[in-house]
């Protein structure tokens, strides 16, 4: 066991899978020579060479399309889109080809690719470089969606995704790369569709993912000072969703907050609320609350950016209102 940075955990997962399986290769903008915009592929070009760690043209459509094609022909590409905001340029390849080919070819092909990207606000780099776009992809049958919060989760999940035969969107967070956490030295895998209770509690349930997990844990500490015992659950896997863990928690507390850094309208939190009321209606003591980003473009001004996306304070506020 050792402490690793989030970016290191990702880099290690890639490295281990590339050693294990020669079909695994990486492609993306500035991932080879530069080592990745956030350092997630640092050292891999030097270790594995330009055939297996490929710098691409600045064309997200090409990245996604080439990865799809390579996957259909037997490779296991891990392609990177530098900013989740740019996924729009890869949409058609992802949504209409990668997500659908296995079905439309009657199962005679498969698309075992991982598309890594990062999103989120916190660097003051404005509306086109700070979004959380996962809601768009959660809506696509055939695509899967994983968003780790901690180094431990990132490594275990990425390995599982690479070994999975489906196209999976693996969304990291730009503000998490430099966070540190315990990561085992020995190999481990985390299955898809399994949420993690990051903090057990009994008064209120907070569902979160990615950076919002850290905000939720901070909120939980503050709530504890006021005698409110919050349970924080890191979903980790948005699709497939761990409904059983969610229901178990709702049953325990009866009061729920769903946190997402995406905009409120039609965001992932909306899907969580629907699932909760479908599966755990009788356990609810109050309507489910959503804590999400405002329905606005992310501002560049750091002060405005800070109040646009949810913070621990917003979560504390929601919890106190729920328990009033």
């Amino acid at each position: 066991m050792g402490e690793k940075f989030y970016w290191e955990a990702i880099r290690d997962a890639l490295r281990e899978e590339m050693i294990r399986d020669p079909n695994v290769f990486l492609m993306g903008e500035d991932i080879a020579i530069y080592g990745g915009a956030y350092g997630a592929t640092r050292g891999l070009y030097e270790e594995f060479g330009e055939e297996r760690v490929r710098d691409t043209a600045i064309s997200e459509a090409a990245i996604a399309g080439a990865a799809t094609g390579a996957a259909m022909l037997g490779m296991r590409p891990v392609a990177e889109i530098m900013y989740a905001d740019f996924l729009t340029l890869a949409m058609d390849q992802l949504v209409n080809t990668a997500a659908k080919n296995r079905y439309m070819f009657g199962g005679r092909t498969k698309v075992p690719m991982v598309l890594r990207t990062e999103g989120g606000a916190g660097r003051g780099i404005a509306a086109q470089h700070s979004q959380s776009t996962e809601a768009w992809f959660n809506h696509v049958p055939g695509l899967y969606l994983v968003m780790p919060a901690r180094p431990y989760d990132a490594k275990g999940l990425l390995k599982t995704c690479i070994r999975d035969d489906n196209p999976i969107l693996f969304i990291e967070h730009k503000m998490l790369y430099k966070t540190k956490g315990e990561v085992p030295d020995e190999e481990y895998l985390i299955p898809l569709g399994l949420a993690d209770v990051k903090r057990a509690g009994k008064d209120v349930t907070i569902f979160a993912y990615s950076k919002m997990v850290l905000e939720s844990l901070t909120a939980a500490d503050r709530l504890a000072e006021e005698g409110i015992d919050a349970e924080v659950i890191d979903l980790r896997s948005i699709k497939p969703l761990d409904v059983d863990t969610m229901v178990r928690s709702v049953r325990k507390t009866g009061k729920v907050i769903c946190v997402s850094e995406g905009c409120k309208t039609n965001g992932v939190a909306s899907e969580l609320v629907s699932v909760i009321q479908e599966h755990a209606f009788d356990y609810l003591d109050a309507p489910v609350r959503r804590v999400c980003a405002a329905d606005v473009p992310i501002p560049m001004s750091p002060a405005l950016e800070a109040v646009t996306v949810p913070s621990a304070g917003d979560i504390v506020q929601a919890a106190k209102e729920l328990l009033a």
Binding site: G254, D282, D285, A286
Partner: protein, 433 residues
């Protein structure tokens, strides 16, 4: 007494009055009364004029010191019906009774007249799913719990607090009892346990289930509403006579020997009533509030006791039918009633009703006047009774018959005379021979 009408003022504004002086005359529903002054002073203001009908407790004037400022008097709420016109002071045989109307007396008699406080809209009961589930598991009624959530929603902590307040955990319930209670709508907190150490057992739940209010059947609702209307609208009084049925009993036996269609006692009574109704038409009438009717046909209803409730088939033109015709028709109607084959016009349109409980071994009873009639006759059982007959004790067949009459149009003497006519026809049944 709820209201009164001003007849005339005996004092004018500005007059000096002493405590006990008669200030005005008012007319109530029973009589004309004089109203005395409570205080000495000057009659400063008269607020109600002759002819005005006002509710009790309405301020009608002020007695005080000249120059005193008078408070505002709110107008009385509008009367529901037109006020009765003030009557001319009627010639009285003797001095009218003085009404020592104490303030307290008035307050006690009269219903409150001030506007009712605005009624808060009935609370729409709301409860969170979790709280509802908890209440259901505990088999209690959540609507009794006050809610502390938004919009007074009952939430989990309200249920928990309620259970604790009620000492729910100290209540012992058998599993069978709990299961049965859950299936019905019994609230465990309403039950008293009769098991060991006060444990609630299945029998307690079943008893509560049996005692639950159940809705009246449509038939019963109709009966109930008629009875209520009668009780509310008809001021009734009773007159009872004893009838010696000995002769009639003998005649009946003789007649029935020669007939397949047996004549019952009730058939005789029905015919006797028909005669009496011709003689006293007001008893065949009906009071409609301010008006009344005298019905021209004599249609007598016979109360028939059925399992589902009372039914009253009607013998039309009872006075024009022979005893035999009445006997045949009445037994047919009763049969139809029992088999639920009565047609609509066979139980509508009674002008007078007879209720006979003779077969049930009762001495006498009071029947309730059907809302659109003036009277009803209640017939008890005929029994061998020792009475004075021709100056000596004898055993005769005696029955008590009781007439309930609407005092609005039937006075005591009329009722008595009517009954005596019936009695006479029954004690001397030569008209039937």
């Amino acid at each position: 007494m709820e209201e009164a009408t001003i007849v005339r003022w005996l004092k004018s504004e500005g007059d000096a009055v002493k405590k006990g002086d008669v200030l005005l005359e008012i007319q109530t529903d029973k009589a004309v009364l004089e109203v005395e002054s409570f205080a000495s002073g000057t009659l400063l203001k008269i607020l109600a004029q002759p002819g005005e009908t006002l509710p009790v407790l309405q301020v009608i004037g002020f007695v005080g010191k000249p120059g005193e400022e008078l408070p505002e008097v709110p107008k009385p709420p509008p009367a529901e019906r037109a006020p009765t016109p003030a009557m001319e002071p009627q010639p009285r045989p003797s001095a009218p009774p003085r009404a020592h109307i104490e303030r307290a007396e008035l307050a006690v008699e009269a219903p409150a007249v001030e506007a009712a406080p605005p009624v808060a809209a009935p609370r729409r009961f709301s409860i969170s799913p979790r709280a509802r589930k908890l209440a259901k598991e505990r088999v209690i009624d959540p609507t009794k719990i006050a809610g502390s959530g938004p919009n007074r929603r009952v939430i989990e902590r309200d249920v928990l607090a309620y259970l604790e307040r009620k000492g729910y955990d100290n209540i012992r319930v058998s599993p069978a009892a709990k299961r049965v209670a859950a299936e019905s709508t019994i609230d465990i907190l309403d039950l008293r346990g009769t098991g060991p150490q006060g444990k609630i057992v299945k029998a307690d739940v079943l008893k509560a289930e049996a005692e639950k209010p159940r809705p009246l059947s449509p038939r019963r609702k109709i009966i109930a509403s008629k009875m209520v209307r009668s009780a509310r609208e008809i001021p009734y009084f009773l007159v009872t006579v004893l009838v010696d049925m000995t002769e009639l009993a003998a005649l009946r036996e003789k007649l029935n020997e020669e007939r397949t269609h047996r004549i019952s006692y009730n058939d005789f009574i029905l015919k006797a009533c028909a005669f009496a109704l011709r003689a006293f038409p007001i008893v065949n009438g009906a009071c409609l509030g301010d008006t009344y009717r005298i019905k021209q046909d004599i249609n007598i209803g016979i109360a028939v006791d059925l399992e589902e409730g009372l039914m009253v088939p009607v013998i039309r033109d009872a006075d024009k039918k022979t005893l035999d015709q009445v006997a045949e028709e009445s037994s047919q109607l009763v049969e139809k009633a029992k088999n639920k084959k009565l047609l609509l016009d066979e139980f509508e349109g009674a002008t007078f009703t007879i209720s006979n409980m003779g077969m049930l071994d009762v001495d006498s009873f009071t029947a309730i006047i059907p809302p659109d009639q003036a009277a009803i006759l209640a017939v008890g059982s005929i029994s061998d009774t020792i009475v004075a007959y021709d100056g000596k004790p004898a055993v005769r067949k005696i029955v008590k018959i009781t007439l309930s009459s609407d005092h609005r149009i039937v006075d005591g003497a009329t009722a008595a005379r009517f009954l005596n006519e019936v009695k006479q026809k029954l004690e001397d049944p030569s008209w039937a021979g």
